[in-house]
C-alpha cells in the first residue's frame, strides 16, 4: 500500500515536471550577453566580458564595506569609496589591499571624513575627495596633506539656501574641478585651479514643445500653477575621458519623456562649453535596453547610474534598473550588453559605479557591498581590435578582426558592416552592398550603390547610348513605314483614341 502511494507520488512529481510550463516572463533573451539588431530584437551573443573575481571588504581583513558609493581607477590602483565607514580603500587589479585612507592632514591636524561620496586622483597623485556631509571637497597631495578645500561659494546667487553637497567630482588636466552637487539642477559646478567657483556647466536644456506652449496659452492661471514645473533634470553621475571630455548620465526622466521627446539623453558627452557632442549613429540612440520586459519587479527604461569612457572612446553605461552594463562604440553603436539582477557572480543587486582599468571593468554593488572584476574575452578582444583599426582608417585590417568576431557570433551586425566597409574601400562594391543590405545599413549601402552605379555606367556607356538612340529612332522609322504601307491604319488609330 505504502509502496503504491510512493510510486504514485513519484509519478505525480515526474508528470508535473513535464507538464508545468516553464514560465517565460518576456521575450527577452536569456543569455548573459546580448546585442540588439535592426528591429530592436535581442539576440544572444557570446560573452564579451566575463566576471572574474568578487571583492568583499572582509576578504581584505578590514571589515565589510558599508554603503560604498563610488569607484575610481588611477593607473594600477582601484579606489573604493567606502562611505558608511568614512574611508577610501585602495586595492590593486587583483584585489590585494594597498592601503586604507581614512584621514587627511589639514594644518598639521588629522581630519576625518563624513560620508565621503567620491574621489578623484590626478596623474601626479593629487587627490580630490568629495566629503559630502562636511560640505567640502578636499584637495590633497600624494601624502594626504590638504592643499586646499573647495566649499560653498560666497556668492549668494549661486546656491542660495541649499547646502553644498558634493556627490561626484572629476578634474581635468588643466586642474579645473567639476562637481556634481546634490539638489542642484543647473549642471555641474566648475571650480578653477585656485578653488574659486567659476560657473555652472552642461545644464540640461529645457525646451517646451510647440504643443506644450500652445497648451500653456490656453490654460488658466490656476491650471498653469498646478502644472508640473519644467525644470532641467539632475545628472546622476559624471566621468572624464582621456581628452578631458565629460561624460554625464541622467536617469530622472519618465518613460513618456524618453519615448516622445528626443531631448532626453540618458548619456551625454560634454565639451568644454557644456554642449552635448555625443555621436548617436547607431540603430537607436544610447538609451540602454530597447525591450522593456516587465519581470522581477523591473519595469521601464534603463536608468544609467554611471558611465566610464575607455581610451578607445568606447564607453560603458551601468543600468541600475536591471543591473546591466551597456557598451557603446565611438559612433554610438551598441556593442553588447551583459549582466543582470541576482546573487550570482556577474549579477548585481544595486550596481552604482563602474570603472575601467585598461580593458578590465570594475563594478561596485551598493547593496551586495562588493566589487566585481570583468575581463575581456576573445570575442570582446576582436571587437576592440576591429574598432581600434577602424578608427585609424585601416579598414582592411579591421575586417580581419571582424571576420574573426563573426566566426564566434554570426549575428553580430557591426562585424558585417565593418567587413562591408573594408570591401567598399577595396572597391568591391557589389560584395559590399551584399553585406550592407544584410544588416540594413542604408547609408553605407547607398554609398556603395552610387559607386557601383558609376562603374556600371562607365562600363556600359556604349550600350546605353545605342539604347537611347534606338528609343528615338525606331518609333520614327516604324511610323514612317506604317504610313507608307498602310496609309489608313494610322488614321484609324487616331480616330479610335479620340472616341
Amino acid at each position: 500500500m505504502i509502496r503504491k502511494a510512493k510510486k504514485l507520488i513519484i509519478y505525480i512529481i515526474l508528470l508535473s515536471m513535464v507538464l508545468i510550463p516553464k514560465d517565460r516572463v518576456s521575450a527577452e533573451s536569456e543569455s548573459y550577453t546580448y546585442t540588439y539588431e535592426y528591429f530592436d530584437f535581442q539576440l544572444e551573443s557570446p560573452d564579451a566580458y566575463t566576471p572574474q573575481a568578487l571583492l568583499l571588504g572582509t576578504d581584505l581583513g578590514i571589515g565589510d564595506f558599508n554603503n560604498p558609493k563610488s569607484l575610481f581607477v588611477r593607473d594600477e590602483y582601484l579606489y573604493i569609496v567606502d562611505s558608511g565607514n568614512n574611508r577610501i580603500v585602495v586595492v590593486d587589479r587583483y584585489f590585494e589591499l594597498i592601503r586604507v585612507i581614512d584621514k587627511v592632514i589639514m594644518d598639521g591636524e588629522e581630519v576625518t571624513f563624513l560620508n565621503p561620496s567620491d574621489v578623484y586622483v590626478t596623474a601626479n597623485g593629487d587627490m580630490y575627495i568629495c566629503d559630502a556631509d562636511n560640505n567640502r571637497v578636499l584637495h590633497t597631495d600624494a601624502d594626504l596633506n590638504v592643499i586646499k578645500t573647495y566649499v560653498k561659494p560666497d556668492d549668494p546667487t549661486v546656491l542660495g539656501e541649499t547646502n553644498f553637497i558634493p556627490l561626484k567630482c572629476v578634474v581635468d588636466k588643466a586642474g579645473r574641478l567639476f562637481v556634481l552637487a546634490g539638489n542642484v539642477n543647473q549642471g555641474f559646478m566648475e571650480f578653477d585651479k585656485e578653488g574659486n567657483f567659476t560657473n555652472f556647466t552642461g545644464a540640461n536644456p529645457v525646451k517646451a514643445t510647440l504643443w506644450q506652449a500652445l497648451q500653456k496659452r490656453l490654460m488658466t492661471k490656476e491650471q498653469r500653477a498646478r502644472m508640473i514645473l519644467f525644470v532641467p533634470t539632475e545628472y546622476s553621475n559624471l566621468a572624464i575621458d582621456k581628452d578631458d571630455f565629460l561624460y554625464a548620465t541622467t536617469n530622472t526622466f519618465t518613460t513618456d519623456q524618453l519615448a516622445t521627446m528626443k531631448t532626453v539623453n540618458p548619456v551625454r558627452k560634454l565639451n568644454s562649453i557644456g554642449e552635448d557632442i555625443l555621436v548617436r549613429n547607431g540603430y537607436e540612440p544610447p538609451i540602454g535596453d530597447l525591450q522593456w520586459g516587465a519581470g522581477g519587479d523591473m519595469t521601464g527604461p534603463s536608468r544609467f547610474e554611471d558611465v566610464t569612457a575607455m581610451d578607445n572612446d568606447t564607453y560603458f553605461c551601468l543600468d541600475r534598473n536591471r543591473g546591466r552594463i551597456f557598451g557603446y562604440d565611438f559612433q554610438g553603436n551598441m556593442l553588447y550588453a551583459f549582466g543582470g539582477a541576482g546573487n550570482k557572480l556577474g549579477y548585481f543587486q544595486y550596481p552604482i559605479s563602474i570603472e575601467h582599468m585598461g580593458t578590465d571593468l570594475f563594478v561596485l554593488d551598493n547593496r551586495a557591498v562588493s566589487v566585481t572584476r570583468f575581463t575581456l574575452t576573445e570575442f570582446g578582444k576582436y571587437i576592440n581590435e576591429g574598432l581600434a583599426l577602424y578608427k585609424e582608417g585601416l579598414y582592411e585590417e579591421s575586417a580581419e578582426y571582424w571576420k574573426k568576431a563573426l566566426r564566434l557570433n554570426g549575428n553580430y551586425d557591426l562585424a558585417y558592416i565593418g567587413i562591408g566597409r573594408a570591401l567598399l574601400r577595396k572597391g568591391e562594391y557589389q560584395e559590399a552592398m551584399k553585406y550592407f543590405k544584410s544588416k540594413r545599413d542604408y547609408n553605407n549601402y547607398s554609398k556603395a550603390f552610387a559607386e557601383y552605379r558609376k562603374e556600371w555606367v562607365e562600363e556600359n556607356i556604349q550600350y546605353l547610348l545605342i539604347g537611347a538612340a534606338a528609343l528615338v529612332i525606331v518609333p520614327l522609322v516604324i511610323s514612317k513605314i506604317l504610313k507608307r504601307f498602310k496609309g489608313g491604319a494610322a488614321n484609324y488609330e487616331r480616330k479610335d483614341r479620340d472616341l
Partner: protein
C-alpha cells in the same frame, strides 16, 4: 458561334476603349468626368480593372522595390492585412459619399461614384509603377526625387477626386470640398459602426454559447 464571338469581341473592344478613356480623364478632369457619366464613356469593368491595378501597384511597390526604398520585415509581413485597408477604405468612401450626396442634391448614382473614384486613381498606377523601376537606379541619397514623384501621384489623385465630385454631382468647388470633408467624417462613423457591430456580434454569440454550455451542464 460566330455571333457569340462577335459580341464577345465587341465587349472586349468596349472595355479597352473605356479603359483607354482614363488617360483622357486624368489630363482633362472636368471634361473627362462629365463625359464619363453623361456620355457613357466609362464602364464599371474598366473601373474595376483600375481599382485592382491600384491594389496590385501597392503590392508590387512593397515586393519589388530595391533595398533601401522598401525592405519590410518579411517575417511579420502580412500582405492581406496590408492590402485590405486601402480596398475597404475605397468601398467605404463610395458608400459614404453616395449616402451623403443623395441628401445633398448630388446627381451621381452609386455606380457613377464608384466609376469616377476608380478613374481618379489612374495617376497613382501610372506614376508608381515606373517608380518601382526607378528604385533600382536611384541611391538612397537621392530619395528626394523618389519622394517628389510619389507625392505628386497622391496630389494628382486628390485633385481628380475633387473634380470627379464636382462633375458627377454637379457641385461647385466649395460644395465638392465640403461634401468630401463630410464624406470622410461619414467614413469614420461607418468604420466605428462596423467595429461596434462586430464586437456586439461576438459578445452576443458568446452569450448564446455560454447559455448552451450552461444548459448542457444542467441537463446532464
Amino acid at each position: 458561334m460566330n455571333a457569340k464571338t462577335e459580341i464577345y469581341k465587341e465587349k472586349l473592344r468596349h472595355l479597352g476603349k473605356t479603359l483607354r478613356y482614363s488617360l483622357y480623364v486624368i489630363f482633362h478632369p472636368f471634361d473627362g468626368f462629365w463625359d464619363l457619366i453623361h456620355e457613357k464613356r466609362g464602364s464599371i469593368g474598366a473601373a474595376t480593372i483600375i481599382f485592382i491595378m491600384m491594389l496590385l501597384t501597392q503590392v508590387w511597390t512593397w515586393t519589388y522595390s530595391a533595398f533601401p526604398f522598401y525592405f519590410p520585415q518579411w517575417e511579420y509581413f502580412n500582405l492581406f492585412m496590408r492590402v485590405l485597408p486601402s480596398a475597404v477604405l475605397f468601398f467605404i468612401w463610395c458608400i459614404a459619399n453616395w449616402s451623403l450626396t443623395t441628401l445633398m442634391d448630388g446627381k451621381g448614382r452609386l455606380s457613377h461614384i464608384y466609376m469616377a473614384s476608380a478613374y481618379a486613381l489612374t495617376p497613382f498606377i501610372l506614376i508608381r509603377i515606373p517608380l518601382i523601376f526607378l528604385t533600382y537606379i536611384l541611391s538612397y541619397d537621392e530619395y528626394t526625387y523618389y519622394a517628389v514623384f510619389a507625392n505628386l501621384s497622391i496630389v494628382w489623385c486628390v485633385i481628380l477626386f475633387i473634380a470627379a465630385m464636382m462633375m458627377i454631382h454637379d457641385y461647385t468647388i466649395g460644395k465638392a470640398l465640403f461634401s468630401s470633408f463630410l464624406t470622410i467624417v461619414a467614413m469614420m462613423i461607418i468604420i466605428f459602426l462596423i467595429i461596434m457591430f462586430f464586437s456586439l456580434i461576438t459578445q452576443s454569440f458568446g452569450y448564446f454559447v455560454a447559455l448552451y454550455k450552461e444548459a448542457t451542464f444542467r441537463l446532464y
